[in-house]
Symmetry: C2
Subunit: 177 residues, 2 copies
Amino acid sequence: MAVEGEPTRVMVAVNESTIKGYPHPSISSRGAFEWTLKKIVRSNTSGFKLLFLHVQVPDEDGFDDMDSIFASPEDFASMKHRNKIRGLHLLEYFVKHCHDIGVACEAWIKKGDPKEVICHEVNRVRPDFLVVGNRGLGPFQRVFVGTVSEFCVKHAECPVITIKRSASETPQDPVDD
Amino acid sequence: MAVEGEPTRVMVAVNESTIKGYPHPSISSRGAFEWTLKKIVRSNTSGFKLLFLHVQVPDEDGFDDMDSIFASPEDFASMKHRNKIRGLHLLEYFVKHCHDIGVACEAWIKKGDPKEVICHEVNRVRPDFLVVGNRGLGPFQRVFVGTVSEFCVKHAECPVITIKRSASETPQDPVDD
């Protein structure tokens, strides 16, 4: 066990918080990331490589633009540009943290339905396992919001570990994250 | 990250193979154990403590004794003794391996319904996460055999990672393990 081969490649699915306007990570994706560092990577920073995938939902991205006026094709281009910037800011949070502690990483953005895209990217990138945050909602709440993690546990072609948001971090509306 | 605190406590649910008579680990629990060492523990042997739980199913344990003749209370005691020995042999496999590579571990046996007992022990022992092997059966086969891992993913009060048996290790009858 003394000789280390290739690092263990851990894909971490991350998304933006629903709570504030500025693109910062959701409580559950930040929690999943911190858990992975604390409990898996620990001091073995050269033994792991983190692969951050952020899936932007086209509909959701347009939500902030409900009151916008689109007068020309440039207005749409400008909206797309803002969404891209938001995604980059999100990934910057994770990449910067990894860089600070010396853990190798890669990060990229895809568009689409998060659960489908995550499973598709698992097939393409072949990580050793996938970490997904989860709001830890009860069965009643889940009926309305669905959960990406449940889908990935069933369909992703690699081991999946779901990290539930801690009760102490649950916001006033538990559907928020 | 340089200073390591308490080791990460990983509970690994293990069971006997259904294939041969002698108590050796099932293909899927051996796979889950080896995966944990290779992908999580890696060279950081002091950073982790493995907690092996083997749940003996009372009915299943008695199966080999279908043709036995029970003539006295001592015959039952003898059967219980044999079952205990089988469980101890199983745990010895994992504890010996950990000892050889310098990973701290504990191992114990409980009786009952594996899925219920595993979740109960998670509550009692509070591991950082739980590793469970899985035969990787399709939905049709699962209807008949159920899966302990699916239950644990839903009900265990800690993160759970399910390690599917690799296709190359699947025995002739995939329900065997």
